[in-house]
């Protein structure tokens, strides 16, 4: 990732407060985050640190009190329809088939229906899910639903993919499996990704760069460039540097917590 690679997503000096019990409650405090073309960037922070708010601001569903969102180099504060999105729950529509779910999202993004369906089927075959393309999502396992949800976000013709704790609802074993799967898929396509998690291992296994956020009001505690080479080994967690980074981040989050109290 060279310094000249253009930014696909920039969040610049974002602050945001909500009214909670009639009092203003600050969630984000001057947060700046950048994702370059083809870069996998993770937001890591404790629960309730405003990560989801940051996503809603990126999606244009909410407006920041201060700061600016830029997507693909253009001002995009409060503008919708510029990102691909993979939510925590698979959020597939039960009345559409698996292929239909992907095609519907592509259609909303402006892809003609026939083309959308063809591309959905082609890509489902590539990830080995062509057998369930015509099924309804209710019959799929949680892990399979998340694969479909990821593919749906990947195929959106948009500058950046936002993945909001996509594996949080899965059991530990499926979760590890899905991380490896996601890693392989992403390393083949190299889309710009903004990923949210509160798992340090997940962040270190997947990312190029990590922003460590504090508890609310969230500030960027540190920006960490992950040193492990690509394609990343499945046993990267055995690297001594992995353990060292994990300890650093853990310490950072603990101190961040005690600062906030």
């Amino acid at each position: 990732m060279s310094a000249e690679t253009p930014y696909r997503l920039e969040l610049i000096g974002i602050s945001k407060s909500y009214a909670r019990d009639g009092k203003p409650f600050q969630v984000l405090d001057n947060v700046s985050i950048r994702v370059r073309e083809g870069e996998f960037v993770t937001l890591l922070g404790p629960s309730g640190s405003g990560k989801s708010t940051l996503f809603r601001l990126t999606g244009g569903v909410e407006l920041p009190d201060a700061g600016e969102v830029r997507i693909g180099g253009k001002p995009a504060t409060g503008e919708r329809g510029l990102i691909g999105y993979m939510p925590q729950q698979a959020s597939l529509f039960p009345w559409m088939t698996v292929a239909g779910n992907i095609a519907a999202a592509l259609e909303i993004a402006g892809v003609p229906r026939r083309e959308a369906l063809a591309s959905a089927k082609e890509w489902l075959a590539r990830i080995g899910l062509d057998a369930v393309a015509g099924e309804h999502p209710g019959v799929l396992s949680g892990g399979m639903q998340q694969r479909v949800s990821f593919l749906r976000a990947l195929l959106m013709p948009r500058d950046v993919m936002c993945l909001d704790e996509p594996f949080a609802a899965l059991d530990a074993l499926t979760r590890t499996e899905m991380q490896q799967w996601l890693l392989r898929q992403w390393e083949e396509r190299r889309r710009s990704v903004l990923f949210v998690t509160h798992s340090i291992e997940e962040a270190l296994t997947l990312s190029d760069r990590i922003y460590v956020l504090s508890a609310a009001p969230a500030r960027v505690l540190r920006e960490i460039a992950v040193p492990f080479e690509r394609p990343r080994r499945a046993d990267v967690w055995m690297d001594p540097q992995f353990a060292e980074l994990k300890r650093d981040i853990l310490g950072l989050l603990r101190r961040g917590d005690s600062d906030a109290v």
């Binding site: 597939l92 309804h136 999502p137 639903q145």
Partner: protein
């Protein structure tokens, strides 16, 4: 094998019905009740058999009128619900009037419509539409606002328009609500059609009922009531069957949105 559970579900009410009819028949015989006051089930059945072709003719008329009413009520209800859903400002203005319209008694509204629109089909269809649109509109309106929040959030995040959200999420998600409304509309339509025929018509089971009342043929009146109830139940069953077909994903398995 597959019919067994349905049969098992059907026999308790069927047995209760038979017992009720037997008691009725026995009471009529034991207390020598005047057939002009309360005819026995046997007398009613006999009368229905005798009048079968005539009853069939009138029943077909009522069925036609009721189904036209269902069609109009359904169309009006869906259009109103979608319009009020998309325009919340209009909703708050219009809602009280719509609710009030449902409290105008049919026996006042029917004759008024006859005065305004004559004795043809028009006032009857207006009456049926006025009665039929409401259950559909109100349950659909409730359903449109109650779509899965996660799916709503997903569509917002990828920038779906209001129309896309309606088409891909809100409308399919509210189909169960639409069908609860439709089931009520269907039964209302049959009884309303009978009232309309009673007010002025030369065909229909409502017309037949009035005719027989005036002729003191109480057994035939009971026969007409049985026909009306059966028609209601049949149409209700039809709506329930359509619901099962339309909401196919419920059969395929639930929890499409679980992780």
């Amino acid at each position: 094998m597959a019919n067994k559970p349905a049969w098992r579900r059907a026999w308790p009410p069927a047995a209760a019905l038979l017992l009720f009819l037997a008691l009725w028949q026995a009471a009529c015989a034991a207390f020598r009740i005047d057939p002009w006051t309360l005819p026995s089930p046997y007398d009613i059945a006999l009368q229905m058999g005798e009048d079968a072709p005539l009853i069939g003719y009138h029943l077909a008329g009522t069925l036609g009128l009721a189904m036209s009413g269902v069609g109009l009520g359904l169309a009006a209800g869906v259009i109103l619900a979608v319009a009020l859903h998309l325009l919340p400002a209009v909703r708050s203005v219009v809602s009280p009037f719509v609710v009030a319209s449902q409290n105008v008694p049919l026996i006042a509204l029917g004759p008024l419509l006859m005065i305004w629109f004559g004795f043809g089909l028009t006032p009857k269809l207006i009456l049926l539409t006025l009665v039929g649109f409401f259950p559909v509109a109100w349950s659909l309106l409730a359903g449109l606002g109650r779509a899965e929040p996660q799916l709503r959030e997903y569509l917002a995040m990828i920038g779906a328009s209001k129309w896309e959200t309606l088409r891909r999420l809100e409308f399919p998600a509210s189909l169960p609500y639409l069908f609860s409304g439709l089931k009520i509309t269907v039964t209302y339509s049959v009884t309303t059609a009978c009232v309309a025929e009673w007010l002025g018509a030369s065909r229909g089971i409502g017309y037949y009922l009035v005719l027989k009342f005036k002729g003191f043929q109480i057994d035939a009146v009971f026969g007409a009531v049985i026909c009306i109830v059966t028609l209601c139940l049949g149409l209700y069953g039809l709506a329930a069957w359509l619901e099962r077909i339309a909401i196919y994903w419920r059969r395929a398995g639930k929890a499409g949105e679980r992780g």
